[in-house]
Amino acid sequence: MAEKLTRTQQKNLERLGGVNPADESFSRRQFVGQVGGYAAVAGAAVGAGLLLRDRWGMEGVKPPPPVRLKDYGIKDLPTSTPSVVVVRSSPILSTANHELDLIAREEQAFKMVKAALDEMGGVAKFIKKGDVVVIKPNVAFDKNPDLAATTQPDTLAAVVKLCLAQGARKVIVADNPINNPESCFFKTKVGDAALRAGAELMMPQDSYFEQLYVGGETITSTWRMFYRPFREATKVIGISPVKDHNLCKATVTMKNWYGLLGNPRNQFHQNIHGIISDFALMMKPTFVIADGRKLLMRNGPTGGSLNDVKQSDTIVVGTEGTAVDSWCVTRLLEKQRHEILYLDKIIARGLGKDWRPQWTREITV
């Protein structure tokens, strides 16, 4: 140190052993370490920042790409195959044993659906080994199945068993009801029936919804849809009740797909016929089943009184939902065909065909 040190400073120097560590310059190692470290970290920070940079401010609000639904229909059906098969049966006579009644009802449903599919070329035509089948029942309300506002649990169980017996790898039963999903699946007994028959139950959760591209008349681009069950699906079956509806007059197989939409779906009541006709574009199922064994004739779609219910023991199976609906509203619900505007809309848009006697079979088991 060149300048003269004070006494305290002398003492400091002695304490440090005569060498002032601050006089030493930095070592090469320190230079490389610190400057190199600086350059690396600052470069990484700035580089990562520029990589994340949203130049026009639109990246952050870009929606994820929408999903699309496959066509689940069977392509190689012979032209002679009927598009609608009506199966009638005689009512099950009640016995004193409730359990036996239920078994008998399920057996009846099994026979009816199987007979219908046989008429259309056999179950094997529709369900193959290894298929993942999604079944969409209508369990919109938490009501007892006897009130006919929802799909009959024994029909659903019969179809699940039919699929599994044919070698389906998995059967998923899914719906997004209006009422609370847990109580709907529980009180309509559809959840229990599905599980007992060996299906997987999928209830809607927020993360199960994705934006589905429809590109139709009412959903012109995308809408939130309960898509998760369809991720691995190879076949889709809709099982709907046959019932009255306050706005669109009838809920059968077409309106059933409404239950796959996410909120705010209540806005679709502003154009109910338009949205139902969009379903013909959105969903091409393997086949649909109109479960007309019990009919809700009035006060639909909720019902609530046994006085509104009519026993009919009819099941209508078809590959053409429009034709099935058309048959059901006139023959089962006793409505005028011209009241059902959504059917006309589907037909006018070329998305479906009305029923014709030559494409329809009626059988009795």
């Binding site: 940079r53 952050g60 806005q267």
Partner: protein
């Protein structure tokens, strides 16, 4: 050196105040008035956490980070307007003698609080990392498997000279056709790609609805702009009448003002209290300053332990012993004060004579992080954002959907500053506690001017994304998309003059700015109480045309509880808050709602 620093302080505070004053329709022109807000690195870092992007000019924050990593926290005492104000307030409030000054500038344990605040706020912004971590292994696995070349019975992938891949099904002994090569994708290559893609897609899936941006509460620039906008400038205007043309009022601004004054006055008890103990930006820069190549260094021989360097130490960084690098504001006062020239600002001084990292307790840090992780879900699930969203949360046009908005808005209230009609107001708890001081439109205060998009232009983070007049009005290229709606007007017929009081009025129809008008009237003939027949025009809303600007509510003569009022339903920024079916389904709408 200190004189140079003072010049910088005057310059940057002046620039800040200049920008603040010209954030006004009359003077705005093309000035980058949000520069300070865009330069605070805390905003860049935390919005990168919540949105996975850095919005436009927020890259300025990276420059400040790079400077900090070279020179230390120069931001705090050279550039930050709030820091400079604290410096100034501490100086005018100073009544201590030298001995007291030295004592008050020693490092205290409470100065670590800012790191805990930062940890809590970043944890809130990063909650999505937890579900992403849960989900990533499965996603990585799926991508890894999908990228596996299909090999069945010894068949292999081959790649032709044109780069086209195909499956070669001949047995392994057969030679590969001429010009073809075996395609081999190594396991490491696939794994690497799968890890990146898997984590990326998991993060993208979970970023929404799983984080909240709260740094704006205490970010010094956001806090200063907010306080200036809502309380200081209106106050100055009352005395000088020089700021606005019309005096401004801001909802519950006294709370913002009291907090601001409180932090400034706190300097008289603890100098630089906010900067030393509270500022989360200071904490962030404190962490980055560990890399600083230059710093204050003490010569252990020349130093006589007089502690005079502490007399005007701004950061309480203990220059009289081993320097606390993370606390030093680089004000350079200590160099000036040292009677023995023992302190220098040196390039790469000895590592042994510094405390490189901030002194924080691991437990406290963990606790702060856990608090942050807990606070956000607790706040979000208290209603007010999703199911039970308030009808009063009418966001300015261009705002992104509410969840995204809360992940972007830093509550700087720059939009409120620039709004020419006073309609934009700092909310209190209307949008939940997360939305404290975020902008909402209160139509009794003003209205959304039809041909104005100023708020979207000054927003530093894209909570209000920049829109053009054409986009706002839905004309030109935006014809198919339609106008941006901020809400929908409704009539309270029990208070409306022509509806309830047999009196002509329809001011609302007159001022309705859209064409054709969203307010229309139907003529009625009524018999008044004296038996005379009178003609009345009764107003109605056409919800297709109404854009929710609120001028009808503002001009309604039933002042206290207007007979026509706007609520948030029908806003186009969020599909789930739409009202009419025909208006939500345009392709362009998907830009703002997911």
């Amino acid at each position: 050196m200190v004189k140079i620093r003072r010049a910088y302080e005057v310059f940057f505070l002046g620039l800040f105040l200049f920008f603040l004053l010209i954030t006004d329709l009359r003077y705005l022109k093309g000035w980058p008035v949000s520069l300070f807000l865009e330069a605070t690195p805390l905003v860049a870092v935390s919005t990168a956490l919540t949105t996975h992007t850095i919005y436009r000019n927020l890259v300025w924050g990276l420059v400040i980070i790079a400077i900090t990593m070279m020179l230390g926290r120069v931001w705090c005492n050279w550039m930050c307007p709030f820091g400079i104000m604290h410096h100034f307030f501490g100086w005018i409030g100073n009544r201590r003698n030298t001995k007291q000054l030295i004592e008050v500038n020693r490092y205290k344990k409470i100065y670590a609080i800012k790191y805990y605040i930062l940890a809590a706020m970043l944890a809130m912004a990063g909650l999505w990392i937890i579900p992403t971590a849960w989900d990533s292994p499965g996603k990585v696995w799926a991508v890894y498997h999908a990228s596996m070349p299909k090999v069945v019975d010894g068949s292999r992938w081959i790649v032709g000279p044109d780069g086209k891949r195909q499956i070669w099904t001949m047995p392994p002994s057969a030679p590969i056709p001429k010009d073809y090569a075996l395609l081999e994708r190594s396991g490491a290559d696939r794994l690497f790609g799968a890890v990146g893609q898997g984590i990326g897609s998991a993060a993208e899936e979970h970023k929404s609805k799983k984080s909240s941006l709260q740094i704006g509460l205490l970010d010094p620039i956001a806090l200063t702009v907010r306080s200036m906008t809502t309380s200081v400038l209106p106050t100055i205007h009352m005395a000088s009448e020089g700021i606005y043309t019309e005096p401004r009022e801001y909802w519950m601004a006294w709370i913002v003002g009291l907090i601001f004054i409180g932090f400034l006055v706190a300097n008289w008890w603890i100098p630089r209290f906010f900067c030393r103990a509270i500022c989360p930006l200071g904490a962030l820069l404190g962490i980055f300053s560990r890399f600083a190549l230059w710093r204050i260094d003490r010569d252990p021989v020349r130093c006589t332990d007089c502690d005079l360097c502490l007399k005007s130490c701004e950061g309480a960084s203990d220059p009289h012993k081993d320097l606390r690098k993370s606390e030093c504001f680089v004000c350079l006062n200590c160099i000036e004060e040292c009677p023995h020239d023992a302190l220098t600002f040196r390039f790469l001084p000895r590592k042994a004579s510094e405390i490189t990292y901030p002194e924080v307790g691991r437990r406290q840090l963990l606790l702060a992080g856990i608090f942050g992780l807990y606070f956000f879900p607790m706040a979000r699930l208290s209603g007010g954002v999703r199911k039970n969203f308030s009808r009063a949360v009418i966001r300015p046009p261009g705002s992104v959907a509410e969840d995204e908005f809360l992940r972007r808005c830093i509550k700087c209230d720059q939009c409120i500053r620039v709004c020419p009609t006073n309609v934009l107001q700092p909310s209190l708890f209307e949008a939940g506690i997360e939305g404290l001081w975020t902008p909402i439109m209160i139509s009794k205060m003003g209205w959304c001017e039809l041909n104005c998009t100023l708020c979207s232009q000054v927003c530093p983070t894209g909570a209000i994304r920049e829109i053009s007049i054409a986009e706002k009005l839905g004309v030109g290229p935006f014809e198919a998309k339609g106008p941006i709606k901020t809400g929908t007007a409704f009539y309270n017929q029990g208070r409306c003059l022509p509806w309830a009081m047999d009196t002509s009025c329809v001011v609302c129809e007159e001022v309705c700015p859209v064409s054709p008008k969203a307010i229309f009237t139907r003529n009625v003939e009524v018999t008044d109480r004296w038996g005379a027949t009178i003609q009345l025009k009764r107003p109605f809303i056409d919800p297709v045309k109404c854009i929710g600007c609120g001028i009808c509510e503002h001009e309604c003569p039933v002042k206290d509880d207007p007979a026509v009022y706007v609520t948030a339903i029908g806003e186009t920024r969020d599909k789930t808050r739409s009202l009419l079916l025909g208006l939500v389904e345009d392709h362009a709408q998907d830009l703002v709602s997911v």
